[in-house]
């Protein structure tokens, strides 16, 4: 017992480090190994062969990658922009509300707690061409029904809409808390100093909200790159490749094409891209906090 006590300092940290090292560091190293190999599963076990060039060739030949990258970027930019705008706008406009804060928080938390898969299946039904509520509404208004998930031009925006529904409440909650924390007398001083409402917003409120906005933006952007569940459910990348996102493609390469080596190469590329965004974003946060 005494030994346990004396070394509490050490062994309390060890499980986490060990676990994490084994399950993240080791696989990452493995990724590098895999990216230059081809792996085949045989009766006895696995067969590794050193084939870096083959994997690179697969990458160059992969026709899905360019649209996947484009779609992912488009998705992230569109979804995050809309979510930030809506979340911020809602937070500012709702700031005057005095009662019902508990209810607001409860309802707004809901989309984040629901399994994203369920969100995907729910919206698949909502978007259904024949009986989905959106087309029912369109038809009731005398308009033609829309092929939400089946049209190459519309599908991506339908997917973006689902992500917006999923995450605006969260952005709203963060920014709403920040708005509530604004120093009241500074705002009053600005009003006495002569600020009209637009001036108040532009010159005092938004600058004071900048740290919270930057945090929400960075958070959302990184998370947007991780989207998988809803897209898998809604469109599985289709129609064609119009909603193919990089994570989805990665899954298909690994588990439908069974190209583990090439998939690892793709994974490394994706990790590098994310890290780049993180670095740029991190600098942005540091600038904003100044």
């Amino acid at each position: 017992m005494e030994l346990v006590n004396r070394t509490f300092r050490h062994w309390s940290l060890v499980p986490a480090v060990l676990l994490f090292a084994v399950l993240t560091l080791y696989p990452t190293v493995n990724l590098v190994r895999m990216s230059v190999s081809t792996i085949e599963f045989t009766q006895g076990g696995e067969a590794w062969s050193f084939t870096p060039l083959r994997n690179l060739a697969l990458l160059r030949a992969d026709e899905v990658v360019p649209p996947a990258v484009r779609n992912t970027l488009l998705f992230v930019v569109a979804a995050v922009t809309i979510e930030m705008a809506l979340g911020l706008g809602l937070a500012l406009l709702v700031a005057g509300v005095t009662r019902g804060k508990g209810l607001i928080r409860t309802v707004m938390i809901l989309p984040i707690l629901v399994p994203p898969v369920a969100i995907g299946s729910m919206w698949k039904l909502l978007y259904n061409y024949d009986f989905g509520v959106f087309n029912q509404a369109l038809v009731a208004l005398g308009l033609p029904p829309a092929n939400w998930l089946g049209s190459t031009s519309l599908a991506m925006w339908s997917v973006v809409a689902v992500d917006v529904w999923h995450w605006v409440p969260f952005v709203f909650l963060i920014l709403f808390a920040a708005v509530e924390a604004l120093p009241v007398d500074v705002l009053e001083a600005a009003r006495v100093d002569g600020a009209t409402r637009p001036q108040l917003l532009r010159r005092v409120i938004l600058p004071l909200l900048r740290p919270a906005i930057v945090v929400a933006l960075l958070f959302r952007t990184i998370l947007a790159f991780k989207v998988f569940d809803e897209v898998y459910l809604l469109t599985s990348g289709g129609p064609g490749t119009s909603t193919e996102l990089i994570t989805l493609h990665l899954y298909k390469v690994f588990f439908e094409q069974n190209q583990l080596g090439y998939g690892a190469l793709l994974s490394l590329a994706l990790i590098a891209a994310i890290l780049a965004v993180l670095l740029v974003g991190g600098q942005g946060v540091r600038v904003a906090r100044a």
């Binding site: 994490f20 707690l113 629901v114 399994p115 604004l182 991780k226 899954y251 690994f254």
Partner: protein, 292 residues
């Protein structure tokens, strides 16, 4: 002489009063109602759909005669293993939550209390942060290979271990924040009173962070329950969790919309339940976690 209340003369000044006059308040309230409706609307529609017969769904019949057939089919139907799926999810979520709470709480406390050199704290926190940001799909490949080699492919253990890994960053950061709120004098008093470090932790600090444990526990459980990509890739039919089952429903039974709706509602129930019970904790945990 009319009433003059001395105490009430203190004015409550809210941000609201500072920049929102009366008519703006109405606009804000209206928008709020709209937003709430937008969030709840889809759930309501799916709920009604889940109680409809297939024909009623197609015709958009309103009002309609409700039925529990969809739920019965999903839960007890011959082609459905839903009960098994729920069991799998429960086991994996519970086990991974328990493990991650223990591991992350100990680590968080260690970092908080035991003045490690800065590179240690920075390395661990930064590393967990980085892995939190990376899409899980990138790691699933090597996990797949490793687990297959170890014979752990398609086992609950694989799911539990991976779920612990992905929930570790969030739980670590959350528990750190909660530990930071415990005044250090309390632990120092315990040490002066004769406790050894482990005892001080168990008897004094731990009870004080119980709300944090609950918040982290609930969130870890929910995220494990909701987890999809890993479960999809690393398990087969018998060990499928609830999200995987839903995905299969959507794909195999594309025409069984009522059952899809029912399955979605069932999958949402744990979240609703936990929210009703632990709402305060969840909100605190999520907003604390977001501000890092």
């Amino acid at each position: 002489m009319s009433e003059v209340a001395v105490d009430a003369v203190e004015v409550p000044r809210r941000a609201a009063a500072a920049f929102t006059p009366a008519h703006r308040g109405v606009l804000g309230a209206a928008l709020l109602v709209l937003a709430l409706a937008a969030v709840l609307g889809p759930f309501a529609w799916i709920l009604t759909t889940s109680f409809k017969y297939q024909i009623a769904i197609y015709s958009g019949e309103w009002p309609f005669t409700p039925t529990l057939a969809n739920y019965a089919d999903v839960l007890f139907g011959r082609r459905s293993d839903f009960v098994a799926n729920v069991t799998n999810s429960l086991v994996v979520a519970s086990a991974s939550t328990a493990i991650v709470l223990v591991v992350a709480t100990l680590a968080a406390y260690s970092l908080h209390r035991f003045r490690w050199p800065r590179w240690v704290t920075g390395a661990l926190l930064g590393w967990t942060l980085v892995f939190h940001m990376i899409p899980v799909m990138t790691l699933i490949g090597p996990w797949y290979v490793a687990f297959r080699a170890l014979g752990l492919y398609d086992t609950r253990m694989a799911l539990i271990l991976t779920h612990v890994t992905i929930n570790l960053p969030m739980t670590l950061w959350l528990m750190r924040a909660f530990f930071a709120e415990v005044p250090p004098e309390i632990e120092e008093a315990a040490l002066v009173d004769g406790c050894r470090p482990l005892q001080a932790f168990r008897r004094v600090t731990l009870p004080l962070v119980v709300p944090g444990l609950i918040a982290s526990g609930i969130l870890a459980f929910i995220f494990s329950w909701n987890e999809f990509p890993i479960a999809l890739s690393l398990t087969s039919r018998e060990l499928a969790t609830v999200p995987v089952a839903i995905a299969r429903f959507a794909q195999q039974y594309e025409t069984q919309h009522g059952q899809m709706a029912a399955a979605s509602i069932i999958a949402t129930l744990p979240a609703v339940l936990l929210m009703a019970l632990g709402q305060r904790f969840i909100v605190r945990g999520l907003t604390l976690g977001a501000v890092k």
